[in-house]
């Protein structure tokens, strides 16, 4: 397994470099946006002196490089500063809003993989016949509209015209759930409250599905394309010549070799959902990081902007790291390579 360890440490190193780069970039960009954050935070009625004091407290009069130095020093102690918008530590704000977003994205990811891969597998197994044509049309439809469009369409269809799903929120207010992980699906189960779990599931389904639709289409198309190629390989012909059943060939012997090239893209799509989640959250009034993110950007709340972007970047990198490890696990050539190829 040392090849995998080498891979892991290499990727961790690269991730760290990327994070440093992102922090510099966003630090710079946030300061280029016009407007004085201290003035915005204090409002039009504050005196010049008050504004000057706040600018001093925020080190805003120092050169940008020095400001960045202050930021890194604080960050190393786990301190992202105080949000001027909520007047609380940014870390606290993120801890409050991030779980809702993560839960939404993770659930959407499960839908993407759980629906997209089997659709692609089916499509490839029946390539050239009607199930294939049907799935290809449906998945093309899925990728051809962005997720916020799907969010609006699905909301109109299944929450408004056919009120099957709730329009907004994470859970019906009457449920009292103690917060442990911040993931309602987990917290309700921990509390042993089945009704609340079902309610949370009912709330999350439509936004998560809207978020996942294009990913489902993408995953299905990718899996199909790779599998159709695999079906032409001699080892699939050999499996057929030995009478392995069509189902077993599709689900195992043609699927696994095709999964490896698909997985990288699926991982990227999954991570991209973090960005799309902002719009879907807005449509479904999902109390996640997006509302917070938008509010702090409009208020030029420097600390909060940097904190939010950094956390999202870190999540993106973690997802990619997990995907890389998964590929290493699935692909024996990586797992057994003597030199730890990447």
């Amino acid at each position: 397994m040392s090849a995998v360890l080498r891979l892991l440490s290499r990727r961790l190193g690269i991730s760290l470099i990327v994070l440093v780069g992102v922090s510099m970039l966003i630090f710079g960009i946030a300061r280029v946006i016009p407007g004085d954050p201290a003035r915005i935070a204090l409002g039009p009625n504050a005196t010049e002196e008050q504004v000057a004091n706040l600018r001093e407290a925020l080190h805003l009069n120092d050169p940008v490089v020095v400001q960045y130095g202050h930021f890194v020093a604080d960050l190393l102690q786990g301190d992202l500063g105080v949000s001027l918008y909520t007047n609380r530590p940014v870390t606290l704000d993120i801890a409050q809003f991030l779980p809702a977003t993560l839960e939404l994205v993770l659930f959407a990811g499960v839908l993407m993989v759980g629906i997209g891969l089997p659709l692609g597998m089916w499509s490839a197994r029946y390539r050239g016949r009607w199930p294939d044509h049907l799935i290809r049309v449906v998945s093309l439809l899925g990728v051809s509209a962005p997720s916020f469009v799907w969010a609006v369409i699905l909301m109109l269809l299944f929450a408004f015209f056919l009120p099957i799903f709730p329009i907004a929120g994470r859970i019906t207010d009457s449920f009292e759930i103690t917060r442990v992980t911040g993931f309602l699906l987990v917290d309700t189960l921990l509390a042993g409250n089945g009704a609340a779990f079902a309610d949370a599931l009912w709330h999350i389904f439509l936004p998560a599905f809207a978020l996942a639709v294009s990913g489902i289409g993408q995953a299905a198309r990718l899996t199909r394309a790779n599998m159709v190629e695999t079906y032409d390989r001699p080892y699939v012909e050999m499996a057929q010549a030995y009478g392995f059943s069509a189902r077993r060939i599709a689900a195992k012997y043609a699927f696994k070799p095709s999964l490896i090239p698909s997985l990288t893209i699926i991982g990227l799509d999954f991570a991209a959902m973090l960005g799309n989640a902002f719009l879907v959250e807005a449509v479904f009034a999902w109390p996640g990081l997006s509302r917070y993110g938008v509010a702090v950007i409009l208020r030029k709340d420097l600390n909060a902007i940097i904190g939010t972007v950094l956390i999202i970047s870190a999540t993106f990198l973690i997802v990619n790291l997990i995907v890389d490890l998964l590929i290493a696990f699935l692909n024996p050539r990586i797992r057994h390579s003597e030199r730890g190829a990447s």
């Binding site: 390989r233 050999m238 057929q240 030995y242 009478g243 692909n331 024996p332």
Partner: protein, 290 residues
């Protein structure tokens, strides 16, 4: 003696956008129990499609239209359902492909793939029992560190090693017919010769009939009891190996023999295949057809 395989007037057409094109124009051949029969011809002559028709694989292509009699151990294959035909594959009929390394799945261990093959005959076989049987079978193809091989992936083994594995798999379920489609062509010559010798010994010992598909007459001469020469979808000559090699009757057979490279030099001869002699009727040597 009874025939393991009999093919009677087999025709194959492919339907395309510009009408149908016939690929096999009525092929007849038979293989007796335990006999090694070679089907020889250049690429595109119809050797490999014949093998795939016997397995019932080609018939699943919507564009392929197959006519003609196919009998396996006296049973009319055309009357079997797809399911019944599939049941013969990997049990009573097995196949070896051209390149052993690419015919093994790259992301599963040899052991997993071997167990799947063994379960064709014995669906309830546990993995431990399968590994044990596979180990014995690998020993019969002179692989002695079989536990390492069973745990390995195809890319970790040499081509010759994979070829032995594939031979062991092909004979694992004691098939009565083995179809070998240019086995080992992808390997280097010495390894190919070794593995063919091994295959020869094993099928002789187990009494497995072989349909040996090749373009290499040198190999065929070593391996086969009888030879069918196929040219552009027709059998042009057939007979016992020795008779054909001593007295090739058809112009195409002579051209094919002249194409076998010799160490003493000479290189490949040019031959003019628009010559009318290539369209001569089939030459049958004595003792050819039962």
């Amino acid at each position: 003696m009874s025939d393991v395989l009999e093919i009677r007037d087999l025709r194959l057409r492919f339907r395309g956008y510009s009408g149908t094109s016939e690929v096999l124009h009525g092929i007849s051949l038979n293989i007796r129990a335990g006999e090694r029969v070679a089907l020889v011809g250049e690429s595109g002559s119809g050797k490999s499609v014949t093998a795939r028709i016997v397995l019932g694989l080609l018939q699943e292509l919507p564009s392929a239209q197959v006519d003609g009699g196919l009998f396996f151990e006296g049973e009319d294959l055309n009357r079997l359902s797809r399911r019944q035909w599939r049941a013969l594959r990997g049990t009573s009929i097995s196949m070896i492909f051209q390149d052993p390394t690419s015919s093994l799945n790259p992301v599963f261990t040899i052991g997993t793939q071997f167990a799947e093959v063994l379960r064709r005959r014995d669906p309830k076989l546990s993995r431990e029992a399968a590994d044990e049987r596979a180990g014995t079978l690998l020993q019969s193809v002179s692989i002695h560190d079989h536990s390492r091989v069973l745990g390995a992936y195809p890319f970790q083994l040499s081509g010759g090693m994979n070829q032995r594995v594939v031979i062991a798999m092909a004979l694992a379920n004691r098939p009565s017919l083995l179809i070998a489609d240019e086995p080992g062509t992808a390997l280097d010559v010495t390894v190919q010769a070794q593995t063919l010798k091994l295959m020869h010994e094993l099928v002789e010992r187990s009494g497995t009939a072989v349909l040996f598909i090749s373009h290499n007459l040198g190999v065929v001469r070593e391996f086969a009891d009888r030879v069918f020469v196929i040219y552009r979808g027709r059998i042009v000559e057939q007979g016992p190996t020795r008779a054909i090699f001593e007295d090739p009757g058809h112009a195409y057979t002579r051209a094919l023999m002249a194409a076998v490279p010799r160490i003493t030099g000479g290189g490949l001869p040019d031959f003019n295949d628009s010559e009318s002699a290539f369209l001569d009727p089939m030459v049958v040597h004595g003792g050819g057809k039962a």
